[in-house]
């Protein structure tokens, strides 16, 4: 409770908090509510995804909606990652981490207070996606399927884990590099370039244990099923466990890094 209060004092009056998180939720909600229109507006004549035409696909019906919208929502997490990085690197750049430590906050408590920030952002995002999914789903589904409307709600858990993993990854990078610009750069470039290049050296059996792969494989690309190609329409227990393990590891590493630092 004390850590939550302290973390909220730091964030609620920080303009960046409202700007970056506001942008995230604005984009997220706007896109989710206009998903069908967006899907129809894409020009499918030159599609590299095997000619999947989504303009008439029932994207927003229960229970498939959970898979579809959590997949789409995952793209917006980058803004959240950037905010988590900033909230940590600011502490180093303003040297306010010293203010915290010399007044009796332990290093572990400091990392825990950042974990609280991550949890709050994650919970808020899952609630937004859940709320949007309920509203959109009710509007677009036939009443008779609504009995099974939560069938694929495991994807909400997947989305939650995806955010926790990504934001703890941002925490680790911020804690390690301390400088805002380079940390944001690494948080953006590692998942896109560095890890794919690393994974390329390894067989598939090993691939799945890399952190970003562990995150990406939670919610697989859902749309091929609309042209009859089979996709995994759930999340396997092993994938959930791999991702959860990474969440814990990334947090523990962040704590270890801070414990060893001279500030």
């Amino acid at each position: 409770m004390r850590l939550l209060t302290i973390e909220m004092r730091k964030n609620l009056t920080y303009p960046g908090f409202w700007i970056i998180l506001g942008m995230h939720y604005f984009f997220l909600i706007t896109v989710l509510f206009n998903l069908q229109d967006l899907a129809s507006s894409i020009d499918y004549s030159d599609n590299q995804y095997g000619n999947i035409d989504l303009s008439l696909a029932p994207l927003l019906q229960f229970p498939d909606i959970w898979h579809n919208i959590t997949y789409i929502a995952g793209f917006f997490k980058i803004l959240l990652g950037i905010y988590v990085v900033i909230s940590i690197t600011n502490e180093f750049q303003y040297n306010t981490i010293r203010l915290n430590l010399i007044n009796g906050l332990t290093r572990t408590e400091f990392v825990l207070s950042k974990l609280i920030l991550i949890l709050l952002i994650t919970i808020a995002s899952v609630l937004v996606v859940f709320g949007a999914g309920m509203i959109i789903g009710l509007k677009n589904s036939d009443p008779d399927v609504s009995a099974s409307f939560m069938d694929k709600s495991i994807f909400l858990i997947g989305y939650c884990l995806e955010l926790l993993l990504y934001l703890n990854f941002a925490l680790l990078i911020g804690m390690w590099l301390k400088r805002t610009g380079i940390s944001i750069f690494v948080v953006l470039i590692y998942p896109l370039l560095v890890e794919p290049l690393l994974r390329w050296q390894f067989p598939d059996a090993v691939d799945q244990f890399f952190p970003i792969k562990a995150m990406d494989q939670l919610i697989v690309f859902p749309f091929p099923k609309y042209i009859g190609i089979e996709v995994l329409e759930t999340i396997t227990l092993s994938n959930l466990l791999i991702a959860a393990t990474w969440v814990v590891l990334l947090f523990v590493f962040s704590n270890l890094i801070l414990l060893r630092k001279n500030l």
């Binding site: 302290i6 009056t13 010293r98 203010l99 010399i102 007044n103 009796g104 332990t106 500030l263």
Partner: protein, 298 residues
């Protein structure tokens, strides 16, 4: 007197550089303890270690008879080098973070801001403050929980003369109330005016520690002058057990050797018909003693 802080062989290396070497310090309740040294002698590193922001390479330190660092820090108010606060938060909001961390009440915030002279600007964001105001807020943050111990690293850095005087008076007031103070400074004048005890560091090593009075002991000098200068000079050269230090335009500075007292000298001069118009004892300055200590080591 109970021991507030004890360090044993506390050391910090940055690669090949030995910033602090085998430092033993002991600070007791109620002392105003100054830690002196040239720039780069390890003062800030030492304070960083005892406040838990720098991990020691070896050695140990204990606060208040071995309470955990976290619990000790709740009872300590500190300033470390340059002030660091959240730039977008006001003085009040920054102090609330400090009281929350220390699990203490907020009631003292208006009071302490008044004391350091920041009451008028308490709701302005920190980034609009001048360096002097930032230092005042740092002191406010150190004092806001009414700590048992103050740890101050160069508390008057970057302040104007009025600010320096204000801060000095505030420190003396707090010390007068019985708060133990551990102060690092390279301003010798400041330490001499405030401290009861000092430790002198050079290149990370302690080269002296003890009460300030004791450092200056034996450094007592006598300034003397009379209308009949020639006779005064003659008498001084005849009197056994004094050493002429300096002949100045308007006074002679002499040093009494062990044996004769000031009273003996005064009596002798009167008997010889010399009536001193100026007869003043001056203690040496910490500055001269400090330079002497450093030179002895070289």
């Amino acid at each position: 007197m109970s021991v507030i802080l004890k360090t044993s062989a506390l050391s910090k290396n940055y690669g090949a550089i030995k910033a602090v070497r085998e430092l033993d310090l002991e600070i007791s309740n109620g002392q105003v303890y100054g830690i002196l040294g040239p720039n780069g002698s390890g003062k800030t590193t030492t304070l960083g270690m005892i406040l838990g922001i720098i991990n020691p390479s070896s050695g140990r330190y204990n606060w208040f008879d071995r309470v955990s660092l976290k619990n000790a820090l709740y009872k300590i108010g500190s300033i470390i080098e340059l002030p660091t606060f959240y730039p977008y938060l006001s003085a009040v909001q920054n102090l609330k973070i400090v009281t929350d961390i220390k699990r203490k009440g907020r009631h003292n915030i208006p009071n302490v801001l008044e004391k350091v002279g920041l009451a008028e600007r308490k709701n302005h964001s920190y980034k609009t403050y001048s360096l002097g105001m930032k230092q005042r807020l740092a002191l406010a943050a150190a004092l806001v929980t009414e700590p048992e111990v103050l740890v101050l690293d160069e508390p008057t850095n970057g302040m104007d003369p009025q600010g320096i005087a204000d801060i000095r008076n505030l420190i003396l007031e707090v010390a007068g109330a019985g708060t133990t103070i551990f102060l690092a400074s390279h301003l010798l004048d400041e330490v001499q005016k405030i401290c009861s005890h000092v430790a002198v560091l050079e290149k990370g090593r302690k080269i002296f520690d003890g009460p300030v009075d004791k450092i200056l002991e034996g450094d007592e000098q006598l300034e003397i002058w009379a209308e009949d200068v020639a006779l005064l000079q003659q008498c001084l050269s005849e009197f056994k057990g004094i050493e002429m230090v300096n002949k100045m335009r308007d006074k002679f500075v002499i040093k009494l050797q062990p044996g004769p007292t000031k009273k003996d000298l005064h009596k002798y001069l009167i008997e010889k018909g010399v009536y001193p118009t100026h007869f003043v004892t001056s203690t040496g300055t910490l500055e001269s003693k400090f330079l002497e200590l450093l030179n002895q080591k070289r």
